[in-house]
């Protein structure tokens, strides 16, 4: 077999999930000692591809070769031993233990003989120091890992990858929580990795970064590979075109809502955390659908959760119907007739082992209380059945545990839960994430109908067609700041993308 010019070859990978073809015959070739950027909108299939590479998903077809040899990747450990490492966006160390223990976890150097065999702390310390010196990292091996900055923990993870003799290192949004100086430092580390012949697959939304450090760029869209280009032949504008270039079809219902008077005013919202949202002001009208767009890390969820009283503010004011109010806890937000559909349906939404019935009525229990605090079972059942009918939830029975329903139907139950509280303002955080296309349309129809009835809706979405298809106005955020508000009927994907990447392009340029 002829030696391939590529270190890593991902050849014709396909992966289907129920209702979605997540990867459609995707190929990616990476050369040793280069940075290969992988780009695409949220949901384009980048993460799925990387999970196949890291042995977390097994692809339905296609193969992965390293140095021309086919790899059998059954789990993340086998990927690790094959020379593939991944630096996760959310890093997973053991927080209470030292840096060096995290680094050598599972393969501590030992000395002595059984049963007097001890971990060789001295060697571990020296090996750690040597590794850090080679990579130009300034970290104390004995630091408690959980007390370090995200940047340092990331360096630690990179060092760990190198110590496993990684030939390919995947970095997923590595700069999303770094300061400008830390980004520079990361780029130095990446340079030294390139010199060692390591190939880096770099996933990022930040154009300036990509154009600066990558050698090649591969762009994905809707689970397909669009192509691979030399980085120096591309411009920001061209990348955006390639990423979003697709038609808007009639995947969205017609809307007849007419935005009325201003209902909610948010003024100068600033998080109490330093790297979160800052000085965000906007207003929401009655019967209006306000979309919030932006990239991962734009702090949209944080903003909406702060509005709902889950996160704390350092400054900012809320007015409802012009009246100044304060919301410090979710219960207060609910009293002002707000409802929040959270982003992580499984974590903060459903009660998996409870029935559809219990999941539907849980936020509305108070209204079913009769004398002596007993619950009125009949109206609980009636309300649930009415909700199931109204939102066309597909469930064998109201008594079925909600975990047996599909994602789309679970989401409908959650919408039903909040609708029973009769809210005026609905905050929807990625309401169609992980839901198949058919169910999406039903959710969109429900949203449109609610707006028509005069409910005000804020919808966070990372899918630009969804924002364009559903919103009266689109508010775009970038790195915690509001970068613009567009008219939903006239805006284009390019405009949204420009606003969503605006801030990072500018800082990238000045760094």
């Amino acid at each position: 077999m002829k030696a391939s010019p590529f270190l890593l070859e991902i050849a014709g990978i396909s992966k289907a999930f129920p209702g979605v073809l997540a990867l459609d015959n995707v190929s990616l070739n990476v050369r040793a000692g280069t940075v290969h950027a992988l780009m695409g909108e949220n949901g384009a299939g980048k993460s799925t591809l990387m999970k196949c590479l890291f042995g977390i998903y097994s692809p339905d077809s296609g193969e992965i070769r390293m140095n021309g040899e086919k790899l059998q990747l059954s789990n993340s450990r086998s990927a690790l031993l094959s020379g593939i490492s991944m630096i996760h966006q959310e890093l997973y160390p053991v927080p209470f233990r030292s840096v060096m223990e995290n680094l050598w976890l599972g393969r501590f150097p030992l000395r002595g003989f059984w049963p007097l065999r001890f971990v060789n702390d001295k060697k571990m310390y020296e090996d750690t120091m040597r590794l850090f010196e080679e990579l130009g990292m300034d970290i104390q091996p004995e630091m408690i890992t959980g007390r370090m900055s995200v940047s340092k923990i990331q360096s630690l993870e990179i060092a760990k990858a190198v110590s496993y003799n990684a030939k390919v290192i995947v970095m997923d949004e590595p700069t999303s929580s770094l300061t400008a100086n830390e980004v520079e430092h990361l780029f130095h580390i990446i340079d030294s990795l390139k010199q060692r012949g390591v190939a880096i697959i770099y996933i990022s939304h930040k154009m300036e970064e990509i154009l600066r450090i990558s050698d090649e760029v591969t762009i994905m869209r809707d689970g397909k590979m669009i192509g691979t280009w030399e980085a120096n032949s591309l411009t920001t504008g061209r990348i955006i075109n390639l990423m979003v270039g697709r038609d808007l079809t009639s995947r969205y219902p017609e809307r007849h809502n007419i935005p009325g008077d201003v209902l909610l005013q948010v003024e100068q919202f600033t998080s109490s955390l330093p790297k979160s949202f800052k000085n965000v002001s906007f207003e929401l009208r009655q019967g209006e659908i306000l979309g919030i767009g932006g990239l991962v890390g734009a702090q949209r969820t944080e903003l909406v959760e702060a509005l709902f009283g889950i996160r704390s503010l350092s400054s900012g004011r809320i007015r409802i119907n012009g009246k100044l109010i304060r919301i410090r806890r979710p219960i207060e937000a609910i009293r002002y007739k707000m409802a929040l559909l959270t982003e992580e349906r499984r974590v903060t939404g459903i009660f998996p082992v409870l029935s559809v019935l219990e999941n539907t009525v849980v936020a509305n229990q108070k209204s079913y209380q009769k004398l002596y605090g007993l619950l009125d079972e009949r109206s609980r059942i009636t309300d649930t059945e009415r909700s199931i009918q109204r939102l066309s939830v597909k469930t064998p029975s109201p008594k079925t545990q909600i975990r047996y329903l599909s994602g789309g139907n679970q989401q409908k139950v959650l919408m039903a839960r909040w609708l029973l509280t009769n809210p005026d303002i609905l905050l929807l955080d990625e309401p169609t994430r992980g839901i198949d296309v058919g169910a999406k349309f039903e959710i969109y129809s429900i949203i449109a109908e609610l707006a028509e009835q005069g409910k005000s809706i804020i919808m966070i979405s990372s899918e630009m067609p969804e924002l364009l298809g559903m919103s009266d106005r689109i508010m775009v955020m970038c790195e915690g700041r509001l970068t613009g508000i567009l008219d939903g009927r006239k805006a284009t994907e390019e405009e949204i993308m420009n606003l969503a990447a605006q801030y990072s392009v500018r800082t990238g340029g000045s760094a």
Binding site: S76, R77, L80, Y92, P93, V94, P95, F96, R97, E101, N102, L105, G106, R107, F108, L110, R117, F118, V119, D121, S272, L273, I310, R311, S312
Partner: protein, 337 residues
């Protein structure tokens, strides 16, 4: 908040348990100055040596993120096993009437082995059948009491308290080494040796570091190639061995044994651990901290009696200390949202 005040509050949160310990000693000493004496110290150490050993066993399990409810009943089992084989030959109701004088080491090893066996079973059920530790050890706790009661009920003993233990056995529980005017109980020396060994395991061995990793983030441990199941087998077995040893020493200290021995000790051990800074969600805990936790309860027991506080009030104070100490300790880990 100004910086010096902030520093004080940081110190208080980081060293809460030691602060509680010092405050307790000062408080009791002020109301009864004679409390501060060498004999008081020796008494407290002697009373709490076995509790320290049990707490160390419990800590192994807690740090992995588990819990071991079988501890107390294992103490009872090994107390009865060891006592049943070291009775003087002319004792009227001898457990084994025809048993010759065994070397002390034999019953001791058998009793410790019984502890290891229970620990091993716990570990197997948890790692192979994936039954949660709380349920597993709740089950074995009850089973061990049943087994122990059957053994204890065998004729000719028929559930009579076992007495008449040989001097070469009981001396390990009540004897002392005299250095000038100061006499140090064997029991305390044994507990100190066990604590040092535990410290070495916690800090210097692969098993110890894996234990912290499993409790701190079991997913990370797994991905890093740690055999979580096998490590848990070791952890639960070591814990069982320590409860077994503590049971032997309890029998030696009191000069007898019955199935009631060790009842509810697991709760004392867990209380001492959490007051000593061990996290019940795993990943955190130090040997000095656990020792401080044991001592806090030892000083409360002894000191409050010393200054004339009634036993019922002592219970209330003990309960309050558990909650307050942990409320302080947990502030170290609370994340801001």
């Amino acid at each position: 908040m100004n910086t010096s005040l902030k520093r004080v509050s940081e110190f208080l949160t980081n060293y809460a348990i030691y602060v509680v310990l010092v405050v307790l000693i000062i408080g009791i000493s002020v109301s009864a100055p004679s409390f501060l004496s060498l004999s008081t110290l020796t008494n407290i150490l002697h009373q709490n040596a076995t509790k320290a050993i049990i707490a160390l066993g419990a800590a192994f399990v807690l740090i992995t993120g588990g819990v071991d409810l079988s501890a107390g009943r294992v103490v009872g089992l090994s107390a009865v096993i060891s006592a049943s084989m070291v009775q003087v030959s002319d004792y009227p109701r001898k457990f084994f009437p025809d048993l010759d004088q065994l070397p002390v080491v034999v019953p001791v090893l058998l009793a410790v082995f019984a502890g290891i066996l229970v620990g091993l079973i716990n570990g197997l059920i948890i790692s192979k059948l994936h039954v949660p530790p709380f349920i597993t050890t709740l089950g074995t706790m009850v089973i061990v009491l049943g087994v122990n009661s059957l053994y204890f009920d065998m004729p000719p003993n028929s559930s009579q308290p076992i007495g008449g233990l040989r001097n070469d056995f009981t001396k390990w529980g009540s004897g002392t080494i005299d250095i000038g005017p100061f006499s140090l109980p064997y029991l305390v020396i044994i507990a100190i040796i066990v604590a040092v060994i535990c410290w070495v395991i916690f800090n210097k061995t692969r098993l110890g570091k894996n234990m912290y990793a499993i409790g701190g983030n079991v997913q990370a441990a797994h991905v890093s190639g740690i055999n979580v199941g096998r490590n848990l087998l070791w952890i639960y077995s070591i814990a069982g061995a320590l409860y077994g040893l503590a049971g032997v020493l309890e029998a030696a200290k009191s000069g007898g044994a019955s199935t009631g021995y060790g009842n509810m000790y697991e709760l004392d051990a867990i209380a001492a651990c959490v007051v000593g800074g061990v996290s019940t969600t795993g990943g955190i805990g130090t040997v000095p901290g656990i020792m401080a936790g044991v001592m806090i309860f030892g000083i409360i027991n002894y000191g409050l009696t010393f200054i004339g506080v009634g036993p019922y009030f002592q219970l209330i104070i003990k309960g309050a200390i558990i909650v307050v100490a942990v409320a302080f300790d947990i502030r170290k880990y609370l994340a801001k949202k």
